[in-house]
Symmetry: C2
Subunit: 408 residues, 2 copies
């Protein structure tokens, strides 16, 4: 099935090269297609690594090994396979990952646990070892490539290449960050997974890198949803090559720590939003701002209940300011809410305040807002200071077409 590019697609940005990162791609032919599907990032000696992974109880061996190995804090290589997620493949799947780690560590002369592997695609088929082996050999001999080539090579049913960058001043030193991501539904036709990678030349201690990644993740990747379905392989990693020459950032007291954390969160937010923009069948990009909740965590849960509600998502698809469905979603979130303190706005226009529709509410500007591509929903609970912003897309015939009409 050929899927048209998302109407919400953005052009691939200009991203700087990151010293200490060499990208290469190759054709492992995990599927019967004519494109690069193996991405190999070689990382300079001394690169710090951090990662966050799917909470799925059925995670792939790639995720299990990545989670275990990220704790030692250093990385020399990242290998990403597209077209086969290698999930739910038992010991054969694990063997395939270990073979990739062994081949790569031998080629680079590094410990095996410094090689990280991700795979995305069909579930339940062990990754063919001979294809991986040949693909890695080809990648090791290939010319280095740029970010957009790598972003395309990690994609599966993505309809456009996704990348984002930022820079930060760490003391007197400017450090650069560049990231790429793939993902379209939490799972696409027999494909799976959101995979995101951020590379920086900053010198950051692994433990602190993990801390700032987890903090950024809570406010970015953990605040997006396309269909509420969580993949078995979701992975976001950060690699810091230490080539910029800044004084090492090892905690919040280090010069530039705040600036670096903000830049990382910035890249993560852009990447997360790009996944929503490529959401299966998406025609509208929806921002949901929740305020007045009893806590930030409660606000996020309520925001995701709204963002995951098929009735809210179809209302937006239908350009229908149906705030009754937002009330419904708030009510079912399982978080503290008081019907008679609840206020709801579309595009900055309050349609309901303190539990009742606004008197003489003019539907025309709301209708105009809903015709656009960028939809804003604000919900104020009127209870406390907790707030959160989440992002999602609408639910359209395109989603059904991609996931039901197409037979795997």
């Amino acid at each position: 099935m050929q899927i048209d590019p998302s109407p919400l697609a953005l052009p691939f940005p200009v991203l700087p090269a990151i010293a200490g990162v060499t990208l290469r791609v190759a054709r492992a032919r995990y599927k019967d297609w004519d494109r690069a599907d193996l991405t190999f990032a070689e990382l300079a000696d001394g690169t710090s690594v951090a990662g966050v992974f799917t909470k799925s109880a059925c995670a792939s061996s790639e995720v299990e090994l990545g989670k275990a190995n990220v704790t030692q804090g250093h990385a020399r290589a990242l290998v990403v396979n597209a077209g086969n997620s290698n999930a739910f493949t038992g010991w054969r799947g694990r063997e395939a990952v270990e073979a990739i780690m062994a081949q790569t560590s031998a080629a680079l002369g590094c410990p095996r646990e410094q090689v990280f592997v991700s795979s995305t695609g069909v579930i339940g088929v062990p990754l063919p070892q001979h294809k991986a082996r040949a693909g890695i050999a080809a990648a090791l001999e290939a010319e280095p490539c740029g970010w957009e080539d790598a972003a395309n090579a990690i994609g599966t049913t993505d309809t456009f290449a996704k990348g984002a960058g930022a820079s930060a001043m760490v003391g007197e030193t400017r450090v650069e960050l560049a990231g790429i991501i793939k993902g379209s539904g939490m799972i696409a036709p027999d494909m799976a997974t959101m995979l995101g990678y951020v590379f920086t030349d900053a010198d950051v201690a692994p433990a602190f890198l993990q801390e700032v990644l987890e903090r950024a993740n809570r406010q970015t990747f953990s605040c997006i949803t396309v269909d509420g379905d969580t993949s078995t392989s979701d992975t976001v990693m950060v690699f810091a090559t230490a080539k910029a020459g800044n004084a090492r950032i090892s905690g919040w007291d280090s010069p530039g720590a705040d600036a670096f954390a903000a830049a990382l969160a910035n890249v993560c937010r852009k990447l997360a939003q790009l996944v929503v923009r490529d959401g299966e069948g998406a025609r509208k990009f929806i921002t949901i701002r929740v305020s007045g909740a009893v806590s930030d965590a409660s606000a996020r849960t309520i925001g995701l209940a709204i963002a995951n509600s098929p009735l809210v998502k179809t209302a937006i698809a239908g350009e229908d300011g149906n705030w009754g469905r937002v009330v419904m979603a708030v009510g079912k979130a399982g978080e503290p809410a008081d019907r008679d303190k609840l206020s709801i706005a579309f595009g900055g226009i309050w349609t309901a305040r303190n539990g009742v529709p606004v008197e003489g509410y003019d539907e025309a500007p709301v209708a105009l807002h809903l015709k656009g591509e960028e939809i804003d929903i604000a919900v104020d609970l009127g209870l406390g200071e907790g707030s959160a912003t989440v992002w999602t897309c609408d639910l359209t015939h395109g989603y059904i077409a991609i996931n039901a009409d197409y037979r795997s």
Copy 2:
């Protein structure tokens, strides 16, 4: 918008009259339509009542008052308004419910708290009191009607009338149960709610009636989902008129208690399944059996995670035995699961066992099963003795058409 009858519709069954229950319907004209939309059930003096209600934090005044008043255990009347849910209408909504209770209690000469009111339909518009007043007056003068008329009158976007019955031997006495229900999505275009009512001539003490209803609810209404969206008005009530002349059932030790509880659960299960059969856009009725979980509650959570997954529901719509999506849904359920002990079957044919695809698995019989209207998915966790069965429908273009294409 005219919606075609569900392809999964069943004919309305023959149901017995229940002594002590008089049904009447009237045209309150809550919407601009030519149909009965107010249902009035008069109940004999001494009728026991029990109820379970939505857990929504934004529940309607009908739900709030019903929840409070059901605790006194007796009922003389039930009034159901269709076309306006009266939810999210603040003090004016509450006033409308109280006016109905006052008018009805004056007419019947009973305490106000023995009058139960439900409303279903658009959210955010106070129920017009003058329409309710005239409708109740008309109902009080109307000829009694049968179950199917009442089932039609409580409906909103339902595509067929839904009822179910059962009988049980309590000692030497045969008692009858008859129930009606409405519901199609948790919410339909600007309409809301699942409302279900079971009537019986059995003599049952209110506290025990509540206990057996809650038990039945856990295994029936709480095990269905159309779209995972919970209404602000969901209500299921049981009325027991005590006209059958059985020795009162007041606890599990009373003769016939088990038989009565089983009959009530039977009616609840049939009614719950009818709601799924009228699920918005449904073309397939899906039964998901989960076994081997650490507890029954864990099995139910996993079953609902599968049943609510848009990717599983679209796979079934596409007649695609995509068990990778079932693995994904088990993984995200947040309950104990071991990838390498997980087994999955479609239509009784195991496609994956102990975490790997079944060797030489023949797809033909599974494909044939998936072409049918009744789909069975079995999941065995291999961990313990917990089990649950949940019911849902597929997710089709019809759901999007009903909820997005149509403008309220």
